[in-house]
Symmetry: C2
Subunit: 466 residues, 2 copies
């Protein structure tokens, strides 16, 4: 190939601009020319003396650059022969695609699942992080303990005993990155121990069902009625030895598991040597009476209690935890490389926030906020949509609005989207999505107070326009 | 079934101490008595009026408590009958075990893998976290994007182009919780696409081999010599279509992949439509010349470049990232629920630290620190153990000390432990651990400068005492 390239004006061919020492700029420029095909495979480079003269730089600069690019595999230098390009261009891959454009933000978003992000205690959380970055021990900056930092585990156990009537000590707590992570790890552990079928609530939070399937489990949907999960149906399939449930506030129907069924669930778990995964996702928010204590407190050896800050602070924090029966904790922590836990400083900041009472103060403040917002939403629905029936306990961050048997919720969701109102139909949460659904799951956690009435007005107009 | 319990002094039986309103204290006390078996299953509780009189509290307090405990499933109330305990005690589980005691800290710890934790930029990192907690947009406090925050991806792509000669844009970056997480996700993705066998370096970082096995891949060890991975051996097994390698500084031998083999590796990947996982674990630290650019820059469509802050800042931060060919990025992000990424604030804090030059300043400062420490360690070894041969490039945070063919490194490790010196033998990193090893992998990243000479003195004494 073209030895004649030695006659080119190298200072023109190469883009020597940019920061750094001369040899660094030359390395970058040569590498770029090779990659771009301007210097094709096999092409000879000028002797270092010639290139140096052409550039008006020292020969040392050129030999430094050649040596580096030979070591990197872009050039080939053999004694008594010219330095040549050895690199073969990478097969052109498809151009990197831009991220799929996120859906345009709507005027009103009633998607369930988010807390009020405007209420996030920025200053308190930021200060806690900074305090911990300054105070953390050097040892704690090493490899993090897989089950979570002991200080946070101790604080969380105390918090669960106090606020959820749980029975747990620091050694029963496993810190995770959230409920999805917790559930995925429990599912992998029980699959490994021979459990093959897990019951789930239908309707329910279907993303967690995916975690069960990924772990190799068969998902068995069990219906929910106004008393919660139909616990008796678990006995219909003796291979079911685990169940994922939201007893304190069923998602999405909003009912609470009745006292009879709570007892029946504990009995079932004991009888079949099974495991109950108690997803306690929004138990902090109960507006009519004290929240029921967790079932875990009745059966700590058969129940995993699943918690996170996603509904109390923000899902962006990536902090979750679970109280795990000791038998399962051993399996969980022994298994494999997936020992996810939040960064140690985040764990310690959360521990600080609980210890100094900041977390409880935040919960009290947002509880009051959600209680009023729920009342405002109920008022708006009663006023503007008197035919619409609402169900679910006075709790949490969402409610269920029944539109009537003649209305397909999917039509309402579609029509509302064209008017800047994002809604979610019940069908999203049904395991079998063949049946049309007649109700909406309205999340008000992140809906500004000022928008409540207007959002319902839009919904009323949509329903009228169907 | 003692109805006579109504005659007990309830104020004595129940522990009503503690914080909270009267009915909350009563709920707690009754629940604790039921759990502890002091109120056995079937036992009748006194009528609310009686208990109220006995406690000297209002009847409202008692009915509140009974109602709550009935709802929770601890008590059973039927019209015309006494309120009774319904709860059956949980099968006593084994007492929660204390965490296994961590090994006693030793005077000198030369385990490879840690950076200098005393050099962690506490103030800079803490301030960045706090700044981000205050500045983050409300939208960014919602559900985090699975591949990482766009701002961090953009900053990392620029950083990789500049410091590693990589070819990557923001859309090619996936943010993870570290190299183990990155590798595990790539392994799951390639297994899903039909790749069944992955080559790994022997010796190598065996924890990552575990991630391959967990993903269902067969691990094929390939030997390493003084030119790095023996790339030619990949052709011996046509089912191998992925390889995990540390070209810039092989772990643990410390050699760099030769220019010939870099080119051969890129050729192989193109020929077999394979994937190279380039673990760039400590490329920031090179003391003799400029670091070689990443192979990813030569073959961006066939190489995943794996990075983290574990060796530059701290493994406790849980921040990693990878540059991924677009084809594989799609598979990675589409697959399942395991979309681990660090908390959004940590991602933004790291972006801020790179943007304001703080990360580069930190790297320059610790690079200087490690360079001197390495020199001090070499000096001490030459002085006190002249027969010991050292190998590995002038790079990274560890070196290999060859003790001689007659010495079994395992004996040295054991004897050193009794003298407060923690060492790691080469066998720890060999896939086939049957052969005795004659060398130690000495990590000096987290060894205080003042301890270097003394640690080598202890090692010399250990070798003499064998």
């Amino acid at each position: 190939m073209a030895d004649s390239q030695t006659n080119l004006a190298w200072s023109t061919l190469l883009d020597l601009a940019g920061p750094g020492a001369k040899h660094e700029r030359l390395i970058r420029a040569l590498r770029a020319s090779v990659r771009a095909g301007r210097l094709p495979t096999g092409a000879a480079l000028p002797p270092s003396r010639t290139l140096a003269a052409d550039l008006g730089w020292s020969r040392w600069v050129v030999t430094q650059a050649y040596t580096q690019l030979v070591a990197e595999g872009y050039l080939d230098a053999r004694a008594g022969s010219a330095t040549r390009v050895r690199w073969t261009p990478d097969t052109p891959s498809a151009l990197p695609e831009a991220d799929p454009t996120p859906p345009a933000p709507m005027r009103f978003d009633l998607t369930p699942g988010l807390p009020d992000l405007r209420a996030f205690p920025r200053a308190r959380w930021g200060d806690a992080l900074r305090d911990q970055a300054r105070q953390v021990t050097t040892a704690d900056l090493g490899f993090p303990p897989p089950g979570g930092h002991r200080r946070l585990r101790r604080v969380l156990a105390e918090h669960l005993r106090r606020s959820r009537g749980a029975m747990a000590g620091a050694d029963d707590i496993v810190v995770t990155t959230g409920v999805t992570d917790s559930v995925a790890r429990v599912f992998r552990a029980i699959r490994q121990e021979g459990i093959t079928r897990v019951a789930v609530e239908d309707p329910g939070w279907v993303q967690l069902h995916m975690a069960a399937r990924e772990a190799g489990l068969t998902v068995v949907p069990v219906p929910v009625d106004r008393h919660g999960l139909r616990v008796a149906e678990l006995d219909g399939d003796p291979a079911i030895r685990a169940v994922l449930t939201t007893p304190s506030h069923q998602f999405p129907t909003g009912v609470s598991l009745s006292a009879e069924r709570r007892a029946a669930l504990a009995d079932w778990a004991q009888r079949v040597d099974g495991l109950v995964l108690e997803d306690d996702y929004d138990s902090e928010f109960r507006y009519d009476h004290r929240p029921l204590s967790a079932i875990q407190g009745m059966s700590p050896s058969r129940v995993v209690l699943l918690c996170s800050v996603s509904k109390t602070l923000s899902p962006a924090l990536g902090i979750g935890w679970m109280a795990v029966p000791s038998r399962w904790r051993r399996v969980l922590l022994a298994s494999g490389t997936a020992r996810s836990a939040p960064p140690v400083l985040d764990q310690l900041a959360f521990a600080q926030l609980i210890e100094n009472g900041g977390y409880d103060r935040h919960l009290r403040s947002v509880r009051q906020r959600y209680r009023s917002r729920r009342a405002a939403l109920l008022h708006a629905l009663r006023t503007r949509l008197p035919a619409c029936r609402v169900s679910g306990s006075a709790a949490g961050l969402h409610l269920v609005a029944h539109l009537g048997d003649e209305v397909d919720a999917a039509d309402v969701v579609a029509a509302a989207a064209t008017r800047g109102l994002r809604l979610t139909g019940m069908r999203t949460f049904q395991v079998d999505r063949q049946q049309p659904a007649h109700s909406l799951v309205l999340g008000y956690g992140n809906l500004p107070d000022a928008a409540v009435d207007e959002a319902v007005t839009v919904l009323a107009a949509v329903l009228q326009g169907l």
